[in-house]
Symmetry: C2
DNA sequence: CTGACTTTGTGCATCGGTTCACAAAGGGAT
DNA sequence: ATCCCTTTGTGAACCGATGCACAAAGTCAG
């Protein structure tokens, strides 16, 4: 907060934030195996990045390593967790209990490490009342009330594309400011609200692009016009 | 179109490639609504990006717009599809038919627009033989044979983390060079193989980071979307 | 045909992120 | 304590992506 040079500067680069969960996963794995300290070289290769990048990333959080030794695994787990806000308990709601919603409710990363599925909603009376991952599916009518009652602060949208914007508007109106969107639509939200999207078909299309390029070889005779 | 001054440069920036599917989706939507031409401004806002970026992205594919008018929707759909390799038919295999695998098999983006789920595999005898999205689930033992027989070139991994690397090795040995990985592990592959990963819990953790900052920070950084 | 108007395509400045490479810092041995 | 070895943390160069702002290219009306 004072000098702009080294302290725990609050301005952590977005690219770094996106990699912290990666480091965290590798560290958890190492902790389970009883590894006490790890060098930037080893941690980087476990996380699939290069070691200079890892060191620069970690340097944004503070100076938690020991020169000549490496990083203490437990300590680093704690520091990264704290930075990401995983030392608190986040109540997550999933809206849209189709195949995807069900998958998410059972997904390991959702039920541990700071997150807890606190509510699930669907519009289909056939699905409402089902128990999934030990939790009851509620009707979408109960959305606002349940969000407030359970202190939900992050909502996962797994609805059909056509329903996503409407549900989004409702959860925003209910005070939610973080949304993870799986529906293939561009959501419109006030800029106080954070939306991250995951679009599976986009990833597939990027793969197809590269695959096509490989198949065509170094000489690409493409233009048919 | 083959002018040496502005050739269809084969070096399309990665960031551009990642956005093309976004433009494509917006264009498909417009085509359905009978919109014949669209300006960069309108298309950009439908895709959720800024218009200068959109124009620069499209300029990497060629000069497909008309000044003073905009872009022909159908024509642009075709050009982007061709660039992404979606004018051909990609046979995709899904390995791991748990909740997530099932969701993917039924996912709209997987069964249209150039992609076709050609095979599904699981290790659980309970699941093998089930029909999902009109297709039979085969035993993992049949992996290599079925991949070759059906001409599968892209494999989607939706297995538990512990099984992912082994399955990955097998599909790579069978000649697959594009993998979409949903398992939370860092896969090791020869560098001729393309891996893209989707980790749902990472996205959630990034949201938590920003949410925490909103809630707690004495200084609120403006965050852009 | 001319002139007003619209919208593309791009040169350029800028910004954020990556990588290199090394001085600084610490541990351990003697 | 001193020296050697290892590994961090970071300055600086580099690289790709972004966004501005405008000339060029086209449409359309009269």
């Amino acid at each position: 907060m004072k000098s702009p040079s080294h302290p725990r500067d609050r301005g952590i680069p977005e690219a770094t934030v996106a990699r912290l969960p990666l480091y965290l996963r590798a560290l958890h794995l190492m902790a389970e195996r009883g590894i006490a300290t790890v060098s930037s070289e080893d941690l980087a290769s476990a996380a699939g990045v290069n070691s200079a990048k890892l060191r620069k990333d970690l340097s944004h959080l503070g100076s938690y390593g020991t020169r000549g030794v490496g990083y203490d695994v437990e300590y680093l787990v704690y520091q990264i967790s704290r930075e990401l806000g995983l030392t608190q308990d986040w109540a997550v709601a999933i809206v849209g209990i189709g195949n995807l919603g069900r998958a998410l409710a059972n997904y390991g990363g959702f039920v541990s490490r700071g997150f807890r599925v606190a509510a699930m909603f669907d519009a289909d009376p056939e699905v409402v009342g089902d128990t999934i991952a030990g939790l009851n599916v509620e009707h979408i009518d109960a959305l606002e009330a349940a969000i407030k009652r359970r202190g939900v602060s992050i909502v996962v949208l797994a609805t059909p594309a056509a329903a996503a914007q409407e549900v989004c508007d409702r959860v925003v109106a209910a005070g939610v400011t973080s949304i993870l969107n799986f529906a293939p639509v561009v959501l419109t939200v006030p800029d106080t609200v954070d939306v991250r999207k995951v679009d599976l078909s986009i990833e597939l299309q990027i793969l197809a692009f590269h695959e096509q390029r490989k198949a065509g070889g170094p000489l690409m005779a493409v233009d048919t016009q």
